[in-house]
Symmetry: C2
Subunit: 369 residues, 2 copies
Amino acid sequence: MKNLLSDRLAEYGDVASALGVDAVALVPGPNFTRAVIHPFMSHERPFLLVVPARGTPAALVPNLELRSWDLVGFDGAVFDWRDQDGYDACFSDLLNHLQITTLGVEGQVMRVFVHHAMLRAQPDLKIIDAEREISALRMIKTPDDIDALTSAIEISERALERTLASVRLGQTEKEIEQTLIQNLFAEGAEDQAFHPIVAAGDGSARPHAKARADYAVKAGDALLLDFGARKHGFAADITRTVFLDYATDEAKAVYDTVLRANLTGFDVTRAGVTAHQIDDAVTGVLEASPFADRIRTKTGHGLGRDVHEAPYIMRGNHQVLPAGTVYTNEPGLYEIDNFGVRIEDDVLITEEGCASLTQFPKELTVLKC
Amino acid sequence: MKNLLSDRLAEYGDVASALGVDAVALVPGPNFTRAVIHPFMSHERPFLLVVPARGTPAALVPNLELRSWDLVGFDGAVFDWRDQDGYDACFSDLLNHLQITTLGVEGQVMRVFVHHAMLRAQPDLKIIDAEREISALRMIKTPDDIDALTSAIEISERALERTLASVRLGQTEKEIEQTLIQNLFAEGAEDQAFHPIVAAGDGSARPHAKARADYAVKAGDALLLDFGARKHGFAADITRTVFLDYATDEAKAVYDTVLRANLTGFDVTRAGVTAHQIDDAVTGVLEASPFADRIRTKTGHGLGRDVHEAPYIMRGNHQVLPAGTVYTNEPGLYEIDNFGVRIEDDVLITEEGCASLTQFPKELTVLKC
């Protein structure tokens, strides 16, 4: 553990060097967990790990986390503070110790109260958003990471199979959602990767729909399930859309279009492709269809410890994707007040091409229920 | 819904007035959900509701959330942006429209990338942390809020009863945790309020312990379960500590001390008490015991849409607590490498005194398992 910790901390120091800042700071979240190989919660108490480009890292730790922090095996300076004393003096001590003038932070994770506490302690500290560079260290997955992702996906797929087998006309979206969640835990999830989307009929046309307790699914509905298990700290993210009892010709044509877009994503993916190229090819299929006005989203996002992480698979992102990257290939078409279809797979980029970590069938499915 | 929305937005405008800032901004989270009466997820896309002290509110909405946003019934200006265009121009448009120079934000919720985007759009914008004032609107619970909390607590207590009935010596902490989570959903939780703490033996001495897959519970262990269901958007938070097979005299004495501290919290609570006074009384019981060196935490925190919210029940917080406040009364004693005990109830402050929303028995319990 100790050597892995040292190696990981050195990687964040290298990020600081490459950015030309004196240090980078991590707060509890996916980068923090990866760095210290131990999960800590984000809560109302500031908790900060600072890794300088040169020199020894230091940490600001809430006193009541000290015993958990001991398990990390960290040998840098630790500044702790107690609730009754507040944390301002502790930030001053930390920053006095570090003697830095520029700091890269995780803009998507660090909250404003920590940013403000740092500036109260050192008003001339220059804080830059280094989210992209810090999180980039998580982009190439290790074999252990892939094993964890695969476990999370297998659990998710077993839960989906059980859930679809139990769907009946007249159930509410909420009931189906609760069944799905229970199946995730019954199949071995350690947590939900995110709150599932279970949306039928017109609800399926809202990409981030919330399951309704007052909508009963009916014959002809599209039923979209977007969900995932978390296992060993990694998140699955899978979407399947099925039709209940029957599918109209329009539904079949839309589904076929989305499926062709999804398959095109696999065709163009190999180490060295850019995020732009994938989205351009996938979205291009949708644009060339009669349903181009139903496009609402980019192709996908990176997947790992976080459900949404780099790389974002969208036009304009010319980031080159190396082997070991995992991303979601999730084209969709959504017509408001009508229905939506999304098919989402988790894709591992390899030197030769790619592999789908998701294995759940994606042929047009009409549930007789 | 529309009138409630207008009323709620007006309340946030009043917060801005009282603070002497031009507007307050909300981002997805508990205040945002309370304001718009509809849940939105926090993710990598900025999403912002700005309520000025005078004038009409405005919102910055990711394009793919527009259809969900329509359900809110918001009649202020809406600025949307698409992934492929980025959001910088949209922040400029929003801030040009608003013509503000000072803005209060939720420091515990807003992330640095939003803060930076606002300052890129308007470098002279003065952003202050108004977390306390904004969140204070959630402190006094409505009858509907109390009903939701009560539902969440009842689900949690049924799940605890089922879980304790199934504990067997030799199970791992992780197995017990998974059983607890499955029971929460089986009893009707719409989500977990937070990832449960299930900690036995020396693990129970770490306040934020994570369940271990390699620790099997054994006779004589303390078993601490800290968890809660979420229902109708509100979070339960309950802790019970039981002993497996037998309790030593030390365990009994520690448990009795913590229970007396918890009961003292109820004795001193009524509308008009300060957070300081509660913590002083509760912690005073612990300090007067032979176990004073095992104190590691304050008495508790507010509870509602968020698991940890204002008021924080700690010495030095001289905030006066009105009827309708709900807080956690959760004294504990923790000896590293030995064991810990925590007893946590959810307390509703009333004019005459207080009521425990949690009803689960808290007499010393030795599970014969």
